[in-house]
Amino acid sequence: MSDASPTFSRPASAVRQTLVVAATQLKLMWRERRLLWLALTLLLLAGASVTTGAARLAQQAQERQIVAEQEAGLWDSQGTIDPHAAAHVGRAIPAPVRPLAALDPGITDFVGTSVFIEGHAQNPARHRPVDAGTALSRFDGFSAAWALQVVAPLLIILAGFASLSGDVARETLRQELGSGASAHVLIGGRLIALATASLLLVLALLAVSLPGMVGRTLGTADITALVAMFAAYALYLLVFCAITIGVSARFSAARTSLVVLLGFWVVATLLAPRVAPALAESLYPTPTAPAFRAAVTEDAEHGADGHDPADKRLDALKAEMLARYQVKDVDDLPVNFRGVALEFAEANSTETYNRHFERIYATYQRQAITQRAFAALSPTLALQAASRALARTDFPAQLAFLRGVEDYRYRLIQALNLEVKQHKAANGSKHLADIATLTRSVAYSPQQPPLGHIAAAQSVNFAILLAWVLLALGLVFTSARHLGSAP
């Protein structure tokens, strides 16, 4: 028989063969109705969650708008009173609503939705959505983000664990190898098929969720963030695809593959996200609220090192002012000493509170970094952090809000105190001023950190996801080589 048979022309390129394998695998997945139904159910549920979430957010935004207007009205209608009294009346500042929270609610239900600003104190945010619930409130975990982080990997595992392990799959593989295709082509094709299916799932989820969110206007920043989130989730699901194929190639018994993969899934998506934060907190604990308040009060009264009580400092200030203006009595000063004292007290307490709060925030940061170390066990931790950051539903986003509010509060209260300081009143009475005109120039202008900042902060998490992808692909490669020589 001649060697140059016309049917044996140049071997088809490996790439083309890989695509053939991938196409066939996708066709098989499509015809395997059970998994398709599961995926559709997931899409439906996730889509429903996004739509209801978006409706809830719209309603929240409306409510906060109303409250902000009411508070502004109440503040302005105080009329002509002692400016310092207004500092005690206070004002509530509602937090902004994050449009992407419909996809990834993050911690929004666990942080306060408004801050009450007043003089002499810095209050934490209050009115958390989780307050006043019952046992059922603890089950509020299902969101589109959770579906992609936990359920989609499970679907991938169920779709792929038997693609290369189990009697039937191994036999078919042997036949395919016997036909002349290389192991890398066969395994690569299956990986591409699984990855394509998961990519389609993410795209479908996006398509299903967008109509629900279109009601609110999404700015370019939000859309860019959405694209970045999509990229992160695509990488994450690719990790699971590769691990599934790699494990399936490694073990010839389907049962073993399933057990190993499910074990990894339970640890990575269910256990690690719960254990890591708890362990991080026990390593870097935060003080309880009573302890915190006690420390702040003590600090403000007695000075940072306990030797410099506030009274003494005020006395020193009084003496210094008397000397400066060369008068004997506070009433002879050109400024109202009450205002000076109020200014000083406010600056003192603000500085004290800030110091203590910053310490707490630093502890949170250290906890977050410790948690990130656990991402060595679970890619879900890296993705969760990145997804929340991009949706602006993590703590740094809340912190930006809190700092903006505190800045406004300080400016507002000091404006009131300045008014008192600059106007001396007749003996025994207090200077009155119209609060509305007085504080009109002090505006609350919340600043959102730009997307570039967030992306930079999340670069470590993206790097971790990439590392996982490389690790998983490495597993596929070594399993493929192992399989190619001994199927």
């Binding site: 409706a55 009411q70 059922l136 169920l158 006690a294 949170y364």
Partner: protein, 452 residues
């Protein structure tokens, strides 16, 4: 073939399976960590409470010096809700309700909980969900049970052994029931022992409490066993059974409760706390303004002989009472809306076995909503009593004495619900009903079982 020999055979086979000790070992590790976590949280809560008590004692001592100089000296009291004896079991709703209050006799109602900060722990940690023993029981125990029982029927169906077995004179229904019970016993009893031991180790040592805990775990375990039997009726192949088990776990433990919660939130949305705070502020400001105008217009009447306690004090008190009456309807409306929502949530739990168990464990641990609300009721009553004391001093027109000051009643929370409270019984009943429904469904499919 007697049921006992079937059971014995099943147990022997399961004991040879290497998966069982691994699963139980994992359960030990996770349950131990969860219990440690729970007891650490309780320790933190107790430390915070002792700080609050010290603060209160401090305020009491300091105010003592004012007795006699003012008509009534009622120092600020900070009532606390102590953690229950089994609190390490479940953190539950303990973070969602205030555990302390600010009782200032001459303050208004809105001040009771205004400056009470909820814990300033990391919200990301709370958002992740608490890793307490309740989490292990509600979420992880079913996985352990399903992992050992999901293929109790399908494994043999696949190998063709079922055909052999059923060609003997034995009823399929009895066979699967005995197998399920045998497997259930072998996995549930050790799991129960682990959970009880670990709970006792974490400080929840009350015998009645541990007995109720055992009851809850057994009831929940039986539910999942019944589910495994139902899976056996449907799934002939092991991969099918595995997928069915996983899908059912996800559905029952995660998705259904979440969807029901979303539905309740849509139908009975929570009233806005933000709007209440603003409305209260507006109302109080309004009332204060009116009172100011009234006092400026009317001249104070002078009585003769002049009373020992100045009338200005009485006028101030009357103003206070009026302000409270003005905001009472707003608070009442809000409370009613909150109660309606809580009721809807409570009713919904009867449809969801996992939520029923969570609720039962919360009640056992004393971290449920009802106990927190009872605390708020008792605080309110105490505050009213405090007010009444002040009014009594005013009425008899004699200032407070030191002896009376020292005899001022302190706040002590009264635990009204025992271990086997009504809520827990309802939860157990709901579980029993669910298990029964599953068994009825399985029984109706016994013909399917009998044809391998």
């Amino acid at each position: 073939m007697s049921s006992l020999s079937i059971a014995g055979h099943e147990i022997r086979r399961l004991l040879r399976d290497r998966a069982l000790p691994v699963l139980l070992g994992l359960l030990v590790v996770l349950a131990a960590y969860a219990a440690w976590n729970g007891s650490a949280w309780v320790g933190q809560r107790e430390a915070a409470i002792s700080l609050i008590n010290a603060e209160e004692q401090d305020a009491r001592d300091r105010s003592r010096g004012f007795v006699g100089k003012a008509p009534s000296v009622l120092p600020r009291v900070q009532p606390v809700l102590p953690p229950g004896p089994m609190a390490a079991l479940s953190i539950g709703q303990a973070d969602a309700y205030p555990y302390t209050a600010d009782v200032v006799a001459l303050g208004d109602r809105s001040q009771l909980l205004r400056h009470v900060w909820s814990d300033i722990g990391n919200p990301a940690v709370q958002a992740a969900g608490r890793f307490d023993l309740a989490f292990v029981i509600v979420f992880l125990l079913p996985l352990v049970i399903l992992a050992t029982t999901f293929d109790l029927w399908s494994r043999e169906c696949e190998r063709g052994i079922t055909a052999l077995v059923l060609s003997q004179p034995i009823a399929a229904g009895r066979l699967i029931a005995v197998k399920a019970l045998a497997r259930g016993a072998i996995v549930l009893l050790p799991a129960l022992a682990i959970i009880i031991a670990v709970a006792a180790g974490s400080g929840a040592t009350r015998p009645s409490g541990l007995a109720v805990l055992a009851l809850i775990v057994l009831a929940y375990g039986s539910f999942w066993l019944a589910l495994a039997v139902l899976i056996g009726c449907f799934a002939r192949r092991t991969t099918e059974a595995a997928i069915a088990a996983g899908a059912l776990w996800l559905l029952i433990v995660v998705m259904a409760p979440s969807l029901v919660l979303a539905a309740v939130n849509l139908m009975v949305p929570p009233p806005s706390q933000m709007q209440l705070a603003t409305a209260l502020k507006a109302q109080l400001a309004d009332t204060a303004r009116q009172q100011q105008l009234r006092h400026a217009a009317a001249s104070p009447a002078t009585r003769s002989p002049a009373p020992r306690i100045a009338d200005a004090v009485r006028v101030a008190y009357a103003d206070l009472v009026q302000a409270d009456q003005a905001i009472a309807p707003l608070i009442a409306a809000h409370t009613e809306a909150e109660d309606a929502r809580r009721q809807a949530l409570d009713r919904a739990r009867l449809l969801l076995p996992s939520v029923a168990v969570q609720d039962a464990l919360d009640r056992l641990a004393g971290s449920d909503a009802d106990r927190a609300l009872a605390f708020q009721q008792q605080v309110l009553a105490y505050w009213h009593a405090r007010r009444q004391l002040h009014k009594d001093y005013l009425d008899r027109d004699v200032p407070q004495t030191l002896a009376e000051y020292d005899a001022l009643p302190r706040f002590e929370f009264q635990d009204t619900a025992g271990a086997l409270q009504r809520g827990v019984l309802i939860d157990l009943a709901a579980l029993a009903v669910a298990t029964l429904l599953l068994l009825i469904a399985a029984w109706s499919m016994r013909r399917r079982l009998a044809t391998p």
